[in-house]
């Protein structure tokens, strides 16, 4: 019941979970499957062993929510649940966020400089606002002669496909390391 997730099992789970998700969200929904993993929950009785369940998580950008669809090892959909928190961003979402950022001239001017790297951070509350969205903060740092200089931070909404905030870091004092 707790063995490794096989590729076949994963494909089957994603296929049936996606069909289930689209029935709810509609064929025009903008979404992304962001995770598939083994879901372990404690059984009700002491002598029972956990049943094998797979969790397929969708970022429903149109609906501004994230949904987990639970599937058994045969691909049968057991139930779904709207998540009360934003699950971790997928690699695709992280890459997309960087692309969205580069589409903003203010960011591009900084990001395209030599020796600048990007560090992913959580956005601050005052940047995210009340609308539930898949967000990420991108911190642009210049690394030159072992000195780090914080140049700017951009907050990207993957849900809304836009740069929500951009803040240049003025007067940063670089430190020698």
């Amino acid at each position: 019941m707790l063995g490794p997730l096989s590729k076949t099992e994963e494909r089957r789970a994603v296929k049936f979970a996606t069909m289930h998700f689209l029935k709810q969200a509609g064929d025009n929904a903008r979404y992304r499957m962001i995770d598939v993993s083994l879901r372990i929950e404690k059984p009700q009785g002491m002598k029972q062993i956990p049943s094998r369940k797979l969790q397929v998580v969708f970022a429903d950008y149109s609906g501004r929510r994230s949904i987990a669809v639970l599937v058994d090892d045969k691909g049968k959909v057991l139930h779904d649940e709207v998540l009360s928190y934003e699950p971790s961003l997928s690699e695709e979402e992280r890459a997309e966020a960087r692309e969205i950022a580069l589409g903003d001239e203010r960011v591009a001017l900084i990001a395209k400089r030599r020796n600048v790297f990007v560090s992913e951070v959580s956005p601050l509350t005052h940047d995210t606002g009340p609308k539930a969205a898949r967000m990420i903060g991108l911190r642009y740092v210049l690394l030159q002669k072992k000195q780090y200089t914080h140049l700017a931070t951009a907050v990207i909404s993957i849900t809304d496909q836009e740069v929500v905030s951009f803040e240049k870091s003025e007067g940063e004092q670089p430190n020698q390391h």
Binding site: L2, G3, P4, L5, S6, E10, D35, S37, L38, R39, I40, E41, K42, M46, Q55, A68, S84, Y85, E86, S88, F117, S119, E120, V121, S122, P123, L124, T125, G137, R139, V141, L143, Y148, H150, T153, S169, E172, Q173, N175, H177
Partner: protein
């Protein structure tokens, strides 16, 4: 087999258990199904997040105002970063903040499971370790399961100092979620608090039952500790089996890290894992106000989940030993069994030769 998220089974020193890293970038190392001498002790243990407030005002732009505090790991807040699994042989350096060549491609590249032999001073131990980059910092998650039945969860701080304000002191508060299922008997645990009040004998020491879920505070003056005690499972002489939590703090509490232990009940393995904590001003208040809510059944018991915060204050040695990198500094607590077994002779336990499964695990 997935790159991350599968369970990997290991055994040694009388223990058998599984480890898991759910995602390469996320909440770190988890331990599942830890059995000692064939009896279930822990359903799951994790260290999913850290809260790191800085002294303020500081010279740099990080961590940003108004809170000047990060929540790292799961559901990051305040400009914090997730835990990124590194290959276990990645050097202790800030380099892996900007360089991803040491990112673990699969979970077995990240984790080392070692069977440490008994020596003249320590029992044998099964030790599971992995390191994670978190911004410029590096955290080591390490769980030691000793042949005397004790469990020692640890986190090390390494990497490099905050490059934007290297001299600024700060605190690392590590949060551990511990779901014990003593002897596999759930939901039949109660929680008790120990205090050493005087040298009177009898009566100087005492255990008190915890009747409500909630936040509990450490008190070194009374040698305070806590235990999760089963209400059904007894040893041969009729004592209820329990595990005691000893939390020797390196620092105190503040407005961000407000407690030492929280008593909650199991509500699933996909909820109350640390998500939502830190949403209000980067503090842990949600553990008390959202997670640890409701009465406890002090007769039959509950399926208890305990959160432990380990506090560590860091005054940087930025002009000397910590100028280039941070030598690993461990913060930890312990869980020790009471009324499980009488160790008639340490020999049979200490000398056990228990093989790790072969292949694929990056184990030594």
């Amino acid at each position: 087999m997935s790159s991350f998220g599968d369970l990997h089974w290991v055994s040694g020193a009388g223990w058998s258990l599984a480890w898991r890293i759910q995602k390469q970038t996320g909440s770190g190392l988890e331990i599942w199904f830890a059995d000692f001498m064939g009896k279930r002790v822990m359903w799951r243990g994790s260290a999913p997040f850290a809260i790191v407030p800085y002294h303020r005002p500081h010279a740099g732009s990080e961590p940003p105002a108004p809170e000047n505090c990060y929540k790292d790991g799961l559901d990051t807040q305040g400009g914090g970063a997730e835990f990124r699994a590194l290959k276990h042989f990645a050097s202790n350096s800030g380099q892996w903040w900007t360089d991803t060549t040491m990112d673990a491609g699969v979970d077995t590249e990240a984790v080392v499971a070692e069977n440490g032999s008994a020596d003249d001073f320590n029992p044998a131990a099964l030790v599971i370790s992995a390191k994670f980059q978190c911004g410029w910092y590096q955290y080591v998650h390490r769980w030691e399961f000793a042949a005397d039945g004790s469990i020692h969860p640890k986190v090390a701080m390494g990497g490099q100092l905050n490059p934007f304000t290297p001299s600024t002191a700060h605190l690392h508060n590590f949060y551990f979620r511990i779901d014990l299922d003593i002897a596999g008997q759930f939901p039949n645990d109660v929680v008790e608090v120990f205090d050493h009040n005087s040298l009177n004998d009898p009566g100087g020491d005492g255990w008190k039952l915890v009747k409500q879920q909630g936040k509990l505070l450490a008190d070194p003056q009374t040698a305070r500790k806590w235990r999760v005690r089963n209400t059904i499972s007894k040893n041969a002489i009729g004592e209820f089996r329990s595990y005691e939590f000893e939390v020797p703090q390196e620092s105190g509490r503040d407005q961000y890290s407000t407690g030492d232990v929280w008593v909650t009940v199991y509500r699933g393995d996909s909820v109350q894992q640390g998500e939502g904590v830190g949403a209000s001003g980067c503090s842990d208040i949600e553990l008390e106000k959202v997670y640890a809510i409701g009465p406890l059944d002090t007769t039959k018991g509950n399926d208890i989940v305990v959160w432990v915060a380990v506090h560590s204050h860091h005054e940087p040695r930025n002009n000397s030993e910590e100028a280039i990198f941070l030598p690993y500094h461990y913060a930890e607590f312990s869980m020790r069994p009471r009324s499980f077994e009488i160790f008639k002779d340490l020999g049979p336990i200490e000398s056990q030769v228990i093989e790790l499964p072969k292949g694929k695990h990056g184990h030594r």
